[in-house]
Structure formats: structure tokens, C-alpha cells
């Protein structure tokens, strides 16, 4: 028998929250992430004994990042339910993160009863007002008849077109009320998110530019992953013999052992990727929002487009991204995969290409790898670059890799190889420290059969390590490698080079002892001393499907991430590691 808390109706009547749980089931939601509290207890009560697992986090920020990881891996929206006030404000960073990186997350926040709205009740917060600029859709339910419709709308909008976070705010009294047997309509326009078919005339123009060019470069962003356009990107690259460059989230779009993939470009991109972008005569940018992080600055690109030296083609599902930072020569608003298919089908000549350009890019790659190998050999302890190569060898090819934010993340941008599309997850747009542990837990939950690796910084780790308890609570064996440099190293790198080594507030002491943290959560901790040992412990953990924390000591003095395009500089002025003599300007 159903136990109805509150409300003036029979034991078999359904409350609004019961109907909401029915809706969640209908939407095939298997997990709800969050922490209960007074204003959301009724929803949690309705989940009691139902076929939906509640995933109890130790901080709501953990719940929402986990939902992001889950959504990325499953390709479906994930649901977070938190209480009003502090529960709601604790998910704000995650909503912003999901907004910047286009992750489909549906948040349900409890709210005080409608009778005390706006009167600063206990744990009342205007969450709609707070999340307005960082959500794709928000709705405060004001009548019982709106609740299920609002949830369905929030779910649908989060995944249709360009994905993004949505939120519904549920007042406590409404949750408790008897569910009506009708549903109100939520007045929104969803049709606008259905991407239009690619415009044929524009596609013709794109093809014309592509075949006229000799140094075409394809720039792929996270949109390629969501669109499932990896096959089309590779096909186009083969037809054109065009190098592929990615943004940071776009790293997940292309298998890195494809020889024409040059890596991610930008602030801490690969030198050959920066060189490819900066010296292309045709750039086909797909599913990317043309971010300053990828380009350093836009001046040179804009000039090149203006003078006609560069033909810049921008393909994106979101028309507000077109021309936001750089006005393209031609744009196509549509799904990436569809547009690329049309382009490929319309190319009927064998385009020319500059083989010397490709060789030049490959030479830059070889030189960088040689120099880094030498540098890594010359330091006594672990070098992040070689550590990543070692960890990669020990990690199965299909593993999902998640990162924290900082130098360790930037090293993965440069040196971590992704083989299976969709298996690299990082907080790119917002750069949220603390993302790694919870997002890895969410990823593991979405794909229990896949190995999950979290490459974290000691600073980032400490921001959300409270959620480690879920590893044992829900049997989510993830492997975490902490690049333990006892510093907020990426900020320190800026202090060293941009603030004349005035180091302030970026150095940690020797606490905490991560082995004790591991012990507290019943997770083994390894502190390897050699690369062999590092490889061995990680391979063993993956082989045995056991959780592991690797505390990898890195000397902060050697942890300087290069290449580095300093803020506001152009790609060709990237600071390169010592011993690299190449200039990133192509002599035509």
C-alpha cells in the first residue's frame, strides 16, 4: 500500500510526486543523483521502493558533475534532485559547467511552499533567478497540473538540438498535492531546436572553397561527438588529405591514431595543431563555438578571412554561434553529420593538397615528441608527459578518461591519446576544478563494463573527494591518478611567467596524506616510484576491475606545460619547450 505523506486524499490516490516518478520511469530514467532535504523529501519519498536508484552523493556539486559524466557516456539526459536553498545553490557550478559544455542534465530543485514564496522562508532561494543565464530551460511549477508536463519538457529540451541543462523548481506543497488526471501544456517552442536540413546553395559554396584550397584543415569540436559525425569527418579528411585539428572537447571526436589528426589546438594545444590552424587556407570548423581558448585571439583569423586569404567555413547546429566571435566566409546551420555527408557527396573532383605542408606538420610532431622524451629523461622523478604515455599503455583502449582542471588536464590535452570516440571527458568551457571524481563516477555508472580513469590534480581532487565514498557504496571501481605537485600548478605557471615569479596562494603543504584518504574510503592507494611500477599498478587495477588511487609525485619545478599560447596571443607565438627550433609559420 502506498503511504501518502500529507494531503487530504485516499491512500490509493497519487500525489504529484508519484506522477513525477511515473514520468521518470516513462522516460526510462534509471538513476536519480542528489541529496534529499526538507523541500524535496516528498519526491524522494515517491522514489521509495521504485525501480529507480537514488545515488546519494556527499555534496550536490558531486551529484551534478556525475550527472554530466553519465549523460556524456550514455548519450541521454541524467536527472539530479536536490533540496531548496543550499541544495539548489550547490548545483549552480555544475549547471554552468553543463551549459558551457552542452551536457544534457535535468535538475529538479525543491522549493518552499507557494504560500511563503518571496518572503525569505527557511531555505528559500530564487533558484530560477540564479540559473537563468546558465540553463537552456527553467520552469517553476505553480500548479499540480503543470508538474509532469514541466518535467517532460525539461527532459526533451535538454537533449533536443544542442544539448544543455534544464531545471524545474518544485514547491513543497505542490509535491504533496493530489495529482490531477489532466496535464497542462507548457507553452514553449521546441520545434526551433530541430536542426534545419543543410542549405544546398551553401553546401555548393563550401565545396567550391574546399576544392579551390590547397591547405584545408578540419577543426572539430564537441558537436561532432554529439552528432556522431566521426565517420564523416574522417571520410572528408581522407578525400581532401586534410589535417584534422580539434578543440579540447573535440579531442573525443577523432581516434588519435588516425595519421592526419594533429591534436587539439589552443592555449595548451599541440604545436602541429596550432601550426595547422594558423597556416590553413581553408578551415572547415564543425560543431565548435570558436572559443578564445582554441584560437588565442581572433585578430589574425579575422584579417585572413577579410582579405580572402582564408576561407572560413563554419558548420554548427546553433545559429547563435555563427559569427559570434568570427564572421565566417560561409556558414551552414545544421546537424554536423548531415552537413558533412552532403559536402562529401557533392565533391566530384580529386582536390589538390600541399603534401609539403602535411610533412611539415608531421615533422613538428616528431620534433616535439623527441624533445619531450629528452626532457622527461633528464628529470629525476616523474615527468607528466612520460607519465601519461605510461598510463596510456596500462589503460585499455576503450577506457573512458576524465580529467580535473589544471596543468594535469593541459598535459592530457597535449599527450593523452583517445582511441574510441566519446571516451575523453573534461570540463572545457567552465574549467571546473573538482569535476573529475564525480564525473568519473557518473561515467562508470553509465558504462559499468568499461574501465574509467580519472586524471586529477591534487587541488581538483580535494574539491570533491568527499564523493569517493560512492566507489564502495555503489561498486563503482574507478582508477584515479593524482598528479600530486602540491600546487595549484597551472596558476603557478602563470605566476612564474606572467607575474615575475611572485608566487602567492598556489602552494600547498604536505597535508593531506592521500594514502589515508584512500584508507578512509576503503580504496587502495599506490605511490609508485618508477614508470614500470606506475604501469604495473594501473594495469593490475584495470585487470582486476578494482578501484585504485595513484598518488603520483610530480616536482612542481618541472611541471611547466608547453606548448603555451599565452592569453591574448596568436597561435604561432606559442611558447615551445627548450630544444624545439621550429617556427610555427609555414614558408609557402
Amino acid at each position: 500500500m502506498r503511504y501518502n505523506v500529507g494531503g487530504n486524499f485516499g491512500a490509493h490516490d497519487k500525489r504529484v510526486v508519484d506522477k513525477l516518478v511515473d514520468t521518470l520511469k516513462h522516460l526510462k530514467i534509471k538513476h536519480v543523483f542528489g541529496i534529499p532535504g526538507g523541500s524535496i523529501m516528498t519526491l524522494y519519498d515517491a522514489l521509495y521502493g521504485q525501480d529507480i536508484d537514488t545515488m546519494l552523493f556527499r555534496h550536490e556539486q558531486g551529484a551534478i558533475h556525475a550527472a554530466e559524466g553519465y549523460a556524456r557516456v550514455s548519450g541521454r539526459p541524467a536527472v539530479v534532485a536536490v533540496t531548496s536553498g543550499p541544495g539548489a545553490t550547490n548545483i549552480v557550478t555544475g549547471l554552468a559547467d553543463a551549459y558551457m559544455d552542452s551536457n544534457p542534465v535535468v535538475a529538479i530543485t525543491g522549493q518552499v511552499a507557494t504560500t511563503i514564496f518571496g518572503r525569505d522562508g527557511f531555505q528559500e532561494i530564487d533558484i530560477l533567478g540564479i540559473v537563468t543565464p546558465i540553463t537552456k530551460f527553467v520552469y517553476q511549477v505553480k500548479k499540480p497540473s503543470e508538474a509532469t508536463a514541466a518535467l517532460k519538457t525539461a527532459y526533451e529540451i535538454s537533449i533536443i538540438g544542442r544539448p544543455g541543462p534544464t531545471l524545474i523548481d518544485l514547491p513543497r506543497d505542490i509535491q504533496l498535492e493530489k495529482a490531477p488526471d489532466f496535464e497542462d501544456r507548457i507553452l514553449v517552442n521546441k520545434e526551433k531546436y530541430i536542426p534545419p536540413p543543410p542549405d544546398e546553395d551553401k553546401i555548393r559554396e563550401v565545396v567550391k572553397y574546399i576544392v579551390e584550397g590547397v591547405r584545408p584543415v578540419i577543426l572539430v569540436g564537441g558537436g561532432v561527438v554529439w552528432s556522431g559525425a566521426t565517420g564523416e569527418v574522417l571520410e572528408l579528411s581522407k578525400i581532401l588529405t586534410a589535417p584534422i585539428v580539434s578543440t579540447l572537447p573535440g579531442k573525443a571526436a577523432v581516434p588519435h591514431d588516425y595519421p592526419l589528426y594533429m591534436g587539439a589546438a589552443g592555449m595548451h594545444g599541440r604545436a602541429e595543431a596550432d601550426a595547422a590552424l594558423a597556416n590553413a587556407d581553408v578551415i572547415i570548423a564543425v560543431g565548435t563555438r570558436i572559443s578564445d581558448r582554441t584560437w588565442g585571439r581572433f585578430h589574425e583569423l579575422r584579417q585572413g578571412i577579410h582579405s580572402g586569404k582564408i576561407k572560413f567555413i563554419h558548420i554548427d547546429i546553433d545559429k547563435s554561434e555563427i559569427g559570434k566571435n568570427v564572421k565566417p566566409t560561409v556558414s551552414v546551420v545544421s546537424d554536423a553529420r548531415e552537413a558533412l555527408r552532403k559536402i562529401i557527396d557533392m565533391i566530384n573532383t580529386i582536390p589538390r593538397y600541399d603534401s609539403r605542408f602535411i610533412k611539415w606538420l608531421h615533422d613538428i610532431r616528431t620534433e616535439y615528441e623527441m624533445v619531450m622524451s629528452k626532457i622527461s629523461d633528464s628529470v629525476p622523478g616523474f615527468h607528466p608527459w612520460r607519465a601519461l604515455k605510461t598510463i596510456r599503455r596500462a589503460t585499455p583502449r576503450n577506457a573512458i578518461t576524465v580529467t580535473g582542471v589544471g596543468s594535469h588536464q593541459m598535459w592530457t590535452e597535449i599527450a593523452w591519446e583517445v582511441y574510441t570516440p566519446g571516451t575523453y571527458i573534461t570540463s572545457a568551457g567552465l574549467g571546473t576544478m573538482g569535476f573529475c571524481i564525480p564525473a568519473s563516477l557518473g561515467a562508470k555508472l553509465a558504462a559499468r563494463d568499461k574501465p574509467v580513469l580519472c586524471i586529477d590534480g591534487d587541488g581538483s581532487f580535494q574539491m570533491t573527494m568527499n564523493n569517493l565514498t560512492l566507489v564502495r557504496d555503489y561498486d563503482l571501481p574507478i582508477v584515479i591518478v593524482i598528479f600530486d605537485n602540491r600546487s595549484l600548478q597551472l596558476v603557478k605557471q602563470w605566476q612564474i611567467y606572467l607575474y615575475r615569479r611572485r608566487i602567492i596562494a598556489t602552494e600547498f603543504g604536505r597535508r593531506p596524506d592521500f594514502s589515508k584518504i584512500g584508507e578512509a574510503y576503503d580504496i587502495d592507494v599506490a605511490k609508485p616510484e618508477t614508470y614500470d611500477e606506475l604501469e604495473r599498478v594501473i594495469a593490475r587495477a584495470f585487470r582486476n576491475n578494482e578501484p585504485l588511487i595513484v598518488d603520483l609525485t610530480i616536482d612542481p619545478e618541472i611541471d611547466i606545460v608547453l606548448p603555451w599560447v599565452k592569453p591574448g596571443e596568436w597561435l604561432t607565438s606559442a611558447m615551445l619547450p627548450e630544444g624545439m627550433s621550429t617556427k610555427l609559420v609555414y614558408e609557402d
Binding site: 543565464p133 537552456k136 527553467v138 517553476q140 514553449v188 564572421k327
Partner: protein, 76 residues
């Protein structure tokens, strides 16, 4: 330039619209909101670079609450 659009009749939606307009590099000369039974009709007269106005329109059009939108070049 003039932007005309229709949103659902909700001050929450109106707040979201304003949150977008305030981030655009345009000068808002005039903003009128008229309530209907189910919707608000919003008219916004603005000065600004045509590209910036276009960006604003497409950004507003990203909101599901914006049911209809049109941009009118009042100089022509």
C-alpha cells in the same frame, strides 16, 4: 533596428530575455511589453552593429520561451 517577439506570459521568461539583452553590445532605446491572455508581446528598439543585433536575435531565439521572433530594419 527593431526586434519583435512573443514569449509565454511569465515574468520568469521575461527575466531570461532581459538576461540575454543585457549582455549584448547594443543600445536599447525603447522596450515595450504588452500582456495578452497567454503571452507577452515584446518590442525592442535598439541601436547597434547589424552583426551584434543578429547575434542578439539568434541568442533570444535559443530560448524555448520565445515563441516567435522577427527583426526589422527600421532604416529601410
Amino acid at each position: 533596428m527593431k526586434i519583435n517577439f512573443t514569449i509565454n506570459k511569465s515574468l520568469d521568461s521575461l527575466g531570461r530575455v532581459l538576461a540575454i539583452i543585457r549582455r549584448a553590445k547594443v543600445d536599447v532605446k525603447n522596450l515595450t511589453i504588452t500582456a495578452d491572455t497567454y503571452v507577452y508581446q515584446v518590442t525592442c528598439n535598439i541601436d547597434g552593429e547589424p552583426d551584434e543585433v543578429r547575434w542578439l536575435v539568434s541568442k533570444l531565439d535559443k530560448l524555448p520561451e520565445v515563441l516567435k521572433i522577427e527583426e526589422i530594419d527600421i532604416n529601410h
